[in-house]
């Protein structure tokens, strides 16, 4: 508790001015979540945060601290037990329309080709594919899937499948992108590659992104701001603005500034007792 109070009291640097003045996209006030009836588990403490339009926010925290729960609340898949949650000024009581979500597993439909998988959101909107075809081709190319559009998901590697899942989330051009540890199951090389690609597409489109990860460097590399959650029930232990110039390059991960942010978070995790050294 003490750590958290301290961390909250010393916000690291001020947010870049243009984004601070941007309109609010996601606003959570005291959002908490209990699971189950009698032996209820409190998954999420009271989370309050504001995400401006176009911001890239990462949620970082030990596993089981309620990151997924919080994201599912934003996505309208879970109803908060308390507090208020609004997306685009509207209280979330069902999945927001202008949102794309990437899950931890790719959740591609095995019976559809990659191309048809990507169009699933369009079909669910009962819109014609035509206006989106050019965009689909661009996305496939951007994510290195050109030439694989006629393949079925089981014929692709894990990295390619997750890329396809991202294309699917982006096809309808949502302004809000929610990503739940999308690269958690991938090897380090593929992961780095996808981080670079994600940053590029975010810079080109300036969507609001809420990105969950448990990799500190990944969060620092991608984010405008990192919200560090405490162990369950998750609360915000630290809210850290990352003032590194963009576009960020992989090589920046060896620079002192980058490592300064990483060690700051790592120290916090140590204080929480998350790293037990023998």
């Amino acid at each position: 508790m003490v750590i958290m109070a301290q961390a909250r009291a010393t916000p690291e640097g001020a947010a870049t001015t243009d984004r601070a003045s941007a309109p609010v996209h996601v606003e959570a006030v005291g959002v908490c979540k209990h699971y189950g009836g009698r032996e209820s588990v409190q998954a999420l403490g009271a989370i309050s945060l504001t995400i401006a339009k176009g911001q890239f926010i990462s949620i970082l925290g030990p596993s089981g601290c309620g990151k997924t729960t919080f994201l599912r609340c934003i996505a309208g898949l879970e109803k908060p037990s308390g507090g208020t949650l609004a997306v685009g000024g509207q209280t979330v009581d069902r999945p927001p329309s202008d949102m794309g979500m990437v899950f931890q597993r790719d959740v591609l439909l095995d019976w559809r080709t990659i191309y048809d998988n990507i169009f699933l959101p369009i079909e669910f909107r009962h819109e014609s594919r035509k206006p989106y075809e050019k965009r689909a081709q661009e996305l496939l190319k951007l994510f290195g899937l050109a030439g694989f559009d006629r393949h079925f998901p089981p014929q692709l590697s894990g990295g390619m499948r997750q890329r396809a899942a991202i294309c699917r989330a982006l096809i309808a051009d949502p302004s809000l992108l929610l990503m739940d540890e999308p690269f958690g199951a991938l090897d380090a090389m593929t992961r780095d590659q996808l981080n670079v690609e994600l940053q590029r597409i975010w810079q080109a489109t300036h969507k609001t992104v809420v990105f969950i990860t448990h990799s500190i460097p990944e969060a620092v590399f991608l984010s405008d701001r990192i919200e560090v959650f405490s162990p369950r029930p998750g609360r915000i232990a630290l809210s850290l603005d990352i003032d590194l110039p963009r576009p960020r390059r992989m090589a920046m991960r060896h620079e002192p500034e980058f490592n300064h942010y990483c060690s700051k978070i790592r120290e916090l995790f140590e204080d929480m007792g998350l790293f037990q050294e023998e």
Partner: protein, 260 residues
């Protein structure tokens, strides 16, 4: 060794055919060595001779049985799939209709066959009804299982896409249910065949079930076996057609099988 070469589709086909050949060879040789009387067990050659003596007639009888089977099976698929969709979509039907169907399934359906003759007469309807009744349960149970086998994440995905019930059913639930549905249909097809034969046992003037019953009355065992051969061959062809259809409808399933 042998396994390595006979793993492919063709190899497996060869193995299957040779096991049939060996089975009939043993049968033929054993009945000659032990001098088994044809009225007890005719040799395969004698059965083939019986079939060859009036192939058109056997085909016609087989045709009757086939039509009844397909009608019963078709009805079972249509009604079974529609009901299972309702059971999965309408919550209250799970603990009422579905529970009732599961309980009914424990009743031996053949025992009901004579009733259908009382209710529907001696035409083709009672046979179709019995065939339907026996096949129906396999379809419903497997279709419900399949429609429920959707991974929860897929339903989450559909929810974030704000999918309506019909969209989720058509684009996610139904394709997810297909493997299970085909498994159910394969079982149901054999059961539908059983149903039509039972129907023909109970009251009929044609069909392979009738042939068997009539031939049994005159101790014409080769004719009984000839009819059974036609039935077995028909059953296999129907099963094979379903497998073919399965591969056509679910190419992704085949692609999964190739990888693993």
């Amino acid at each position: 060794m042998v396994n390595g070469k006979l793993n492919g589709r063709v190899g497996r086909g060869i193995l299957t055919v040779s096991s049939f050949v060996i089975f009939f060879l043993i049968w033929q040789v054993a009945s000659q060595i032990f001098g088994i009387r044809p009225v007890i067990l005719p040799t395969p050659v004698a059965i083939l001779r019986e079939l060859a003596s009036s192939p058109g007639w056997y085909l016609l009888q087989g045709w009757y049985t086939l039509l009844t089977t397909l009608a019963g099976f078709g009805l079972a698929v249509v009604i079974g799939v529609l009901l299972s969709i309702l059971i999965v979509e309408v919550k209250i039907l799970d603990s009422t209709l579905y529970a009732f169907i599961l309980a009914l399934n424990t009743v031996p359906k053949v025992a009901v066959a004579p009733l259908f003759v009382i209710w529907l007469g001696t035409g083709s309807q009672p046979k179709i009804a019995i065939s339907f009744l026996i096949a129906f349960f396999a379809i419903v149970i497997d279709a419900v299982l399949g429609l429920r086998s959707v991974p929860p994440e897929m339903l989450d995905l559909a929810a974030t896409l704000r999918g309506g019930r019909w969209d989720v059913l058509r684009r996610i639930r139904f394709p997810c249910a297909l493997p299970s549905l085909f498994a159910g249909m394969k079982v149901a097809m054999s059961l539908a065949l059983v149903g039509s034969v039972v129907g023909e046992f109970v009251a009929s003037e044609h069909g392979l079930g009738y042939v068997i019953l009539a031939a049994q009355g005159t101790f014409d065992t080769p004719r009984v076996f000839a009819a059974i051969f036609v039935l077995a061959a028909g059953g296999m062809v129907l099963f094979w057609i379903l497998s073919l259809l399965e591969r056509r409808v679910m190419p992704w399933h085949a692609s999964l099988q190739v990888r693993h």
